[in-house]
């Protein structure tokens, strides 16, 4: 199943590069959006259909509320480290790391504050993060990483990567992923401009 998912992703990229007619990208984007809506609808139905949803929300381990904070902290610090490694700057790297996989907004925000070069780097970095999430999450869940596996997806865990989490992590991890995605999505528009403002 995992390899089938990776093969599907690679097949999609190959078809996109070699066979996608020019000008049809908007149609594809619409397709992604509607597929996502349908999947979220189905995940909601699955969650409600497989037991008492509200009871499970109430019973969710309170410690897991810390997950998005640790996830953001780890990403920002690793971004700062990578910024130093590539000689592009500590705070610039931290700001890119703060994008948490939300490529559209982090690319735009950093493009506006630090320039087009950083905008492009943030955009592409966060696209890669989303692609890594599709590939790595199933392996990490299988290896017993549990809630840690969710953090790979960053802000996407309440949208595009939620189906993967639902498939490999189960119902409890789906609830945690929604919480994680909500907090990360709310934090990105705040922390990215803040970290970018620290650049001298």
């Amino acid at each position: 199943m995992i390899f089938a998912l990776i093969a599907t992703l690679l097949a999609g990229i190959a078809v996109g590069v070699f066979w996608l007619p020019v000008g049809s990208l908007d149609t594809v984007s619409e397709g992604v959006t509607y597929t996502l809506y349908l999947l979220l609808f189905l995940i909601g139905a699955d969650m409600a259909g497989s037991g008492n949803l509200w009871k499970r929300f109430r019973q969710l381990d309170r410690r897991l509320y810390l997950l998005p904070i640790l996830s953001i902290l780890g990403s920002v610090l690793a971004g700062a480290f990578t910024g130093q490694l590539f000689h592009i700057g500590f705070w610039q790297g931290a700001a890119i790391g703060g994008g948490m996989g939300w490529y559209s907004i982090s690319g735009v925000l950093l493009g506006q504050t630090l320039g087009a070069q950083f905008g492009a780097l943030a955009f592409l970095t966060n696209i890669f993060r989303e692609l890594y999430a599709f590939v790595l999450m199933p392996f990490l869940f299988r290896r017993g990483f549990g809630p840690s596996a969710i953090t790979v997806g960053g802000a996407t865990t309440m949208d595009t990567t939620l189906p993967i989490i639902n498939r490999y992590g189960g119902a409890e991890m789906t609830l945690v992923a929604i919480l994680h995605g909500l907090v990360c999505s709310a934090a990105v528009p705040i922390i990215v401009p803040f970290l970018a403002s620290l650049v001298h």
Partner: protein, 96 residues
């Protein structure tokens, strides 16, 4: 974000209705799997079909791929102690 939450909420309401039709409810996981493949394929299509993204990959791809890998590792490593602590709890690590 609101539209995504609305889709999820509509699904939850539908799920409550679906409890009366267990035969249909059994088909939902299969539909999710099919939808998952469709989503991943179209996501790949979106990346491969965007000349902007593909040109960026040629120019700064390695740097961006490394950045993404390090930030993912950062998130996983920072949350790992919490995951291990959570698993130690009786019943922790079991899916509801």
């Amino acid at each position: 974000m609101i539209d995504l939450l609305l889709a999820l909420s509509a699904g939850i309401l539908f799920g409550f209705v679906l409890r009366r039709y267990p035969e249909w409810a059994k088909q939902v996981p299969l539909a999710i799997t099919v939808g998952l493949f469709a989503l991943i394929f179209t996501m790949g299509l979106q990346v491969g079909g965007s000349s902007e993204v593909m040109n960026s990959i040629m120019q700064i791809g390695l740097q961006a791929a490394s950045f993404a890998l390090f930030t993912v590792c950062g998130s996983v490593l920072f949350s790992l102690p919490l995951a291990l602590w959570w698993k130690k709890k009786p019943g922790g690590g079991h899916h509801a």
